[in-house]
Symmetry: none
Subunit: 120 residues, 4 copies
């Protein structure tokens, strides 16, 4: 057991941006905010944000036009896939957690349903 293997900030930012894109808050084809803007929004160092945008670019979610800035990819399928992948990741975590507590698939789904029902 190791402690304090915390998710680094640049990955937390990657996820936060992906969520905005997934929800259309940052729309397909739009200009992507500048590193400086993101840095001031999240109150972090611009270098940290650069690291995040590099990852987003590697994953093909944004691309940069030299001298103009970055843009969100105009590929709705890709963005949809990304959103689905994020959802699956959350599912994997959920399953792993319930498993570690010894809950079977059926039990996990029952409890989840209860919690959904208790949420109005």
């Amino acid at each position: 057991m190791q402690f304090n293997e915390n998710t680094p900030i640049y990955l937390q930012i990657v996820r936060a941006i992906k969520e905005k894109i997934a929800l259309g808050e940052l729309a397909s084809g739009d200009k992507f905010p500048s590193v400086r803007d993101i840095a001031s929004e999240f109150r972090v160092n611009p270098n940290t944000v650069s690291r995040s945008t590099q990852i987003l670019e590697q994953e093909g979610i944004i691309y940069s036009k030299r001298g103009i800035g970055s843009f969100i990819v105009e590929d709705d399928k890709m963005i949809g896939d990304m959103r689905n992948q994020m959802a699956k990741d959350h599912c994997q975590s959920f399953i792993k957690n319930m498993d570690r507590l010894g809950f079977s698939r059926q039990e996990a789904l029952e409890i989840l349903t209860e919690v959904y029902d208790g949420k109005h």
Copy 2:
């Protein structure tokens, strides 16, 4: 959005211990490992572990006898409740995450089912 609100080590230890109890690896009524043993197992300072065990005691999961050691409570219902509460907490997180991605309850359950089925 705030970053680096890292779960402190003492709470990570609390959770790790609760999981062991929930699964019966540490059984009801058993002697609980000493603060110093846990500290050396997890390579942390005994004071940090002490903080964890005091939380577990506040929550009624263990109790300590001065000069002897700590023990896991002999109350299977309480331990069952604890396990259920941990499960519900994981459900809440899951729901919150899927919600933030814009997935409805039905969609979330479908994706979860797919992932359970191993379609990934």
Copy 3:
């Protein structure tokens, strides 16, 4: 009979602060003195005070805002309840003490009345 189960400093501080709040010396909604200020007032280590304020926070009597400080809860009912609880605790101790000396309720009340009347 056990001796020297001394009330720890951090609990003595909790009580001292509660009394100040109960009496309105620290008023509802006010900024709460900083951990370091209390520590130097009471000549104890800041960590000790921190432990006290965390208890007060758990009990819902103060709340802290990261980077700003702690505040007394703006809930006069809660503060009134706290004051009543403290009073009841003193009553419990009194009753227990008189009981241990073999005084009935009526006898205890008679003596208490005498002492209130200043016949001593």
Copy 4:
């Protein structure tokens, strides 16, 4: 405000013995247990107990016969007075505590009555 001015053990023992005498567990005229017996009963150092018995002797509650041991005074009035004095001391503490919380005599008595009533 000073902390940790804890009642020293020898005074805690004085009070414990007085309570036993007040209740007749140690009867008027009886032989008083030896310093060693008391020390082992309370698990403290015999020197500490000596200090306690000296106080009891000064207060005229026990007396020693050279070579034989100590005895509880055969003076029921004195013992009754002692018991009353202890009761009054508890009353004084109670009044001081309720006063510090800002409760008037009448309020204090009302709350005390409630707590007595809630005690069955």
